[in-house]
């Protein structure tokens, strides 16, 4: 049962940088999925990424340090 939520990312039209999901590497654009990764809050690209983190990433690489 996820306790995550979508959060709005700030976006201005003249921003040239992009942000990549720390778990899977996809782009995070206008909104991110934020959840507790076990070692802080993590912002990933989608709920499916949280599932990937919980079911695989965490076991393979340990908890990711969040904010």
């Amino acid at each position: 049962m996820s306790t995550g939520e979508w959060i709005e990312m700030s976006y201005v039209w003249h921003e040239t940088r992009v942000l990549n999901c720390p778990v899977c590497g996809r782009l995070i654009l206008r909104k991110a999925w934020q959840f507790d990764g076990g070692d802080g809050l993590l912002r990933v690209c989608s709920e499916s990424c949280e599932e990937l983190y919980e079911s695989y990433w965490k076991h393979a690489h340990g908890s990711m340090k969040g904010q």
């Binding site: 976006y11 899977c24 590497g25 782009l27």
Partner: protein, 578 residues
């Protein structure tokens, strides 16, 4: 009055064919009207149809290298810009690798399709535009250290706004490409394809109605996902790992590493690249969609080799990719990436197939030559006084498999571009082809032999021609599988007019890498020779049927010495016996 289409096992197939046909029509238009050879001879482009959320519903994809982009790039642009950004008659373009293009020359265009004032779909296309500025002629800077040297980078911007040219953007683009006339032609070819897509989709909406198309597309996506999951479920669960070294990056001569763990669990696949090197200085970095293309490619080889599953977002969902940002498989701005698409991608595919070998031994192959063997050149043509530039590539050996030898002189796994005939090449460029053939002994020995590489020698027949090159698999050769041996490595050499021997480019010109350099000028009478890499062998060479070895010797694919040394077969003995 829309016609009834039941979305059952019959109607869904009919709808799929209708959508695929629209994408095919778009592709035809693009092919016939584009200027760049890479479009029409090379077929280096794709056309797509997407729903209003940017999910892929049909594609015509000639070039597998774009597979990672087609389900992601348009969707990301839509997310970033927001649905409200788009209006009828708009065309958006971008080539930003950090936003989902394979590398800078690839340009993605998208056109929103409206119905009764509401956004219902997108038509899109991706194509390689031959010249986009940057430090190297032909926009292939093998020693680029950042994206700015690679060419003009466009974030998503409108080329057309409400049906009218967005002239300011066009002016900037054309002023920054070396062959603006070509860009003009190619862009119009792509826009023409989008317009065809819009018209044909409108006809489909007329015919079946919006609801049916919306629901049918969703069902087709579910269908493809279900199909691929069923195929994946048939593979044995497990974690399959492999790692490789790549010899250099064009700027530094340090090799770098890629590691992958392919996890098959139930009906999904995870490709985890954690542990791969940090992104490198030169343009051998892959962006996310390139790593994704490689993964999709390898997975399809072992699950759907005959391409029976309709390609849409659904067939990409069961394949999950972990490409850590800042690594060589998902580089971050401003890391250069032009060679990541052409040269890291084929090696990633080889690596993934190697990893998957235990899971699907009859569907994988040993390494291919693993490089697009990129040779870019340009100059002024002595017969016309006009500027020319060309992106030249060649075939290489493919890896042997459990059941057969590799193929000779084939394009990389991620592309299907045809070569330029010599008679066309010499008409266009002031270069005389001295010879061009298959390289004997280049196939990795094995029970099944790797395929042969190609070689070519060119002589400059004008005052000067400027060359850039990005080759690979010179120092680290294509590997065999199951005790098969490595294929022969590549090389690229130069012989200055009046000299007697060919030398490596790092020796002759002091460039950092023997295979990756930018803007080297050669003069009349200078000769350039290259040899691509051969395919890896499969199985122990001692197990190869001696009659096959003899046939290889007779056909000049394997020399007598190599037959004895690698296979333990004495051709003389065998011939005496027969």
């Amino acid at each position: 009055m829309p016609e009834t289409l039941k979305l059952d096992s019959v109607g869904l197939h009919v709808l799929h064919n209708a959508l695929a046909n629209v994408a095919a029509e778009m592709a035809l238009v693009m092919m016939k009207t584009a200027y760049s050879t890479i479009f029409n001879e090379g077929l280096d482009f794709s056309t797509v149809l997407l729903d209003r959320e940017g999910n892929l519903i049909a594609e015509k994809n000639y070039t597998p290298s774009m597979m990672g982009a087609v389900p992601n790039t348009v969707r990301w642009a839509l997310e970033e810009l927001g649905e409200g950004f788009f209006e009828p008659g708009d065309v958006v373009v971008h080539n930003d690798p950090y936003r989902g293009n394979c590398h800078m020359p690839e340009h993605m265009m998208m056109k929103p399709i409206f119905r009764d004032g509401e956004l219902v779909a997108f038509a899109g296309c991706i194509g390689h535009v031959a010249e986009i500025g940057g430090k190297a002629v032909g926009s292939f800077a093998s020693d680029a250290t950042d994206c700015y040297q690679e060419g003009l980078r466009l974030p998503p911007v409108k080329l057309f706004e409400r049906g009218r040219y967005n002239e300011q953007v066009w002016r900037i683009v054309l002023a920054n490409h070396r062959t603006p006339r070509n860009t003009w032609g190619d862009f119009h070819a792509m826009i023409g394809a989008l317009n065809v897509g819009e018209r044909r989709m409108a006809a489909l909406f007329d015919r079946y109605g919006r609801d049916v198309i919306r629901e049918g597309s969703a069902r087709l996506i579910e269908y493809s996902e279900r199909r691929l999951r069923a195929e994946i479920a048939e593979l044995p669960d497990g974690e399959y790992s492999a790692e490789m070294w790549v010899e250099d990056d064009g700027v530094s001569t340090d090799p770098f590493q890629v590691k992958v763990a392919v996890v098959i669990r139930g009906d999904e696949v995870i490709a985890d690249f954690t542990g791969s090197s940090r992104q490198v200085k030169g343009p051998m970095n892959a962006v996310y969609v390139v790593a994704a293309s490689a993964v999709y490619n390898a997975v399809f080889c072992v699950t759907d080799p005959m391409t029976l599953i309709p390609r849409n977002s659904g067939c990409y969902r069961p394949i999950r990719i972990i490409a850590p940002p800042g690594t060589v498989v998902n580089c971050e701005h401003p890391a250069p990436s032009v060679g990541g698409n052409t040269d890291l991608q084929p090696k990633l595919i080889d690596l993934l197939l190697e990893a998957l070998a235990p899971a699907a031994p009859d569907m994988v192959a040993a390494s291919t030559g693993g490089s697009s063997s990129n040779l870019l050149f340009g100059g002024i043509h002595p017969e016309t006084g006009q500027f020319f530039s060309n992106y030249h590539y060649d075939g290489m050996g493919t890896g042997a498999t459990l059941s057969k030898d590799g193929n000779d002189a084939e394009t990389t796994r991620h592309s299907n571009c045809r070569n330029t005939p010599i008679e066309v090449f010499e008409q266009r460029y002031p270069l005389l082809t001295i010879n061009h053939g298959l390289v004997p002994d280049s196939g990795g020995p094995g029970r099944h032999r790797g395929g042969l590489a190609t070689y070519r020698t060119l002589k400059v027949t004008s005052d000067e021609v400027t060359f850039s090159a990005l080759f690979d698999r010179c120092k680290i050769r294509p590997h065999g599988l199951a005790d098969g041996m490595d294929g022969m490595g590549s090389e690229i050499l130069v012989r200055r007019a009046g000299e007697s021997t060919f030398r490596r480019f790092d020796e002759a010109f002091g460039v950092a890498s023997p295979t990756k350099f930018t803007n080297v000028v050669l003069y009349r009478g200078d000769e350039l020779y290259y040899r691509t890499a051969g395919g890896g062998g499969y199985g122990p060479p001692a197990e190869r049927d001696p009659r096959l070895v003899l046939a290889d010797v007779r056909d000049g694919c394997v020399s007598r010495d190599a037959a004895l040394r690698d296979y333990g077969v004495s051709a003389d003995q065998l011939e005496g016996g027969t």
